[in-house]
Amino acid sequence: VSDHAQSLSQQPFRELFRAHAPFVWRVLRRHGVRDAELEDLCQEVFVVVHRRLAEFAGRSSLRTWIYEIARRSALAHARLRAQAPRPNPDATAELADSARGPEAALEHERALRWLEAALARLSDDKREAFVLYELEEMTLAEVAEAQGCALNTVHYRVTTAREELRALAARTAQRAPFRVAQGGP
């Protein structure tokens, strides 16, 4: 009986984990957690999620709630390392051994580097709003909840972030067209 009850209670958690772990993984990466520590910290986040699931009780979007736990874990982790959160320098390392071909992986890697550099120029609030809305595809309401601000504010942050990225892309294209292969003048 207890085995059965256990498996019943575990099943939703498994689904929750599989659905949200990649998201947490990216959030941690974006907050500067290094590859070697990513797995451990991701696990820790879900141990906390599991422990506090009863408190959650649908008060907010589950994803927003998990995001907050992940973000705090990453910040605490960075404090322990006595360094400010910063973009992960090897954020693209694992693409190399992904199933795609090496050329596609290289292309992706270059694109991600561009994005990383571009995002680094945005203010913290705009960057967070943009990443959550455009890349993680949260709803505006979820982002507003995550950022503790009004919908209008999120709207403003996302649209101005777009403008800044567009301007940046135009400047990069002038200097060196994106698709030109790297390596050698």
């Binding site: 256990q6 209670s9 993984w25 006595a82 455009e134």
Partner: protein, 228 residues
């Protein structure tokens, strides 16, 4: 005006669109995901998964109480007028063993979201189950995990301390549930202390002892770090 906003695609610059596709692919590999899930489940089940304290070496000593008190109960039942017997003998001990319903006294454990799972052999509950003594730390994975956590937290700031804590873990929980993690942590601390040779020696021993360890990849990453 701010009800919804179309995701950026039509007028988005090419580098961004390319990056967004790449970003969506940033995720742990499938086997990595399942491995993490297994570790998380292990961690959250820790409070209930281990053998109960009364099954540990010291705990067995209390089992003699079952037949003795049982016989005592029977003796009292026949020696006294019936109603009194209950006052002397705890009902649960005097009863016949009821293997289907083992009861575990776990006062310190929160009744969390997961059901309590008891993998106990056929045995009745012992009302006099001894409290978990500190010396029986072998059967306390929570303490084991806490110790490893302490070590992990100082790993980068104070690898010497992390190493010392891993040794403490080794002494207290030689074959604990997290022996592999402890070894990994110690190796990482040695790398941090620039004791490469010792780290590599220990890594080789680790690989021999755990040829199929799920941590093999992580071990490689650790050893490649700051290679001279």
């Amino acid at each position: 005006m701010s009800d919804e906003l179309k995701r950026w695609s039509e007028d988005a610059p090419e580098p961004y669109l390319e990056a967004k596709r790449a970003y969506a692919g940033l995720a742990p590999r499938a086997e990595q995901l399942e491995h993490m899930l297994a570790r998380v489940e292990q961690a959250v089940q820790l409070p209930v998964a281990p053998a109960p304290a009364w099954l540990s070496a010291k705990g067995w000593l209390w089992l003699w109480l079952v037949p003795v008190l049982g016989l005592l109960g029977v003796a009292l039942f026949f020696a006294q007028p019936a109603p009194h017997s209950a006052a002397f003998v705890p009902a649960s001990v005097a009863r016949e063993p009821a293997p289907s319903a083992p009861v575990l006294s776990t006062p310190a454990r929160p009744a969390s979201t997961s059901a309590v799972e008891v993998r106990a052999p056929n045995t009745t509950a012992l009302p006099a189950a001894p409290r978990r003594a500190p010396s029986l730390a072998v059967s306390d994975p929570l303490a084991e995990l806490a110790l490893l956590d302490r070590a992990r937290r100082v790993l980068t700031t104070n690898p010497a301390r992390a190493l010392a804590l891993s040794e403490e873990h080794h002494r207290s929980y030689r074959n604990g549930q997290f022996a592999e993690e402890r070894e990994l942590l110690a190796i990482e601390a040695l790398v941090g202390l620039k004791q490469r040779e010792a780290a590599e020696r220990r890594a080789r021993a680790f690989s021999r002892a755990h040829p199929n360890s799920v941590h093999a990849h992580r071990l490689e990453v650790i050893l490649q770090r700051e290679a001279p």
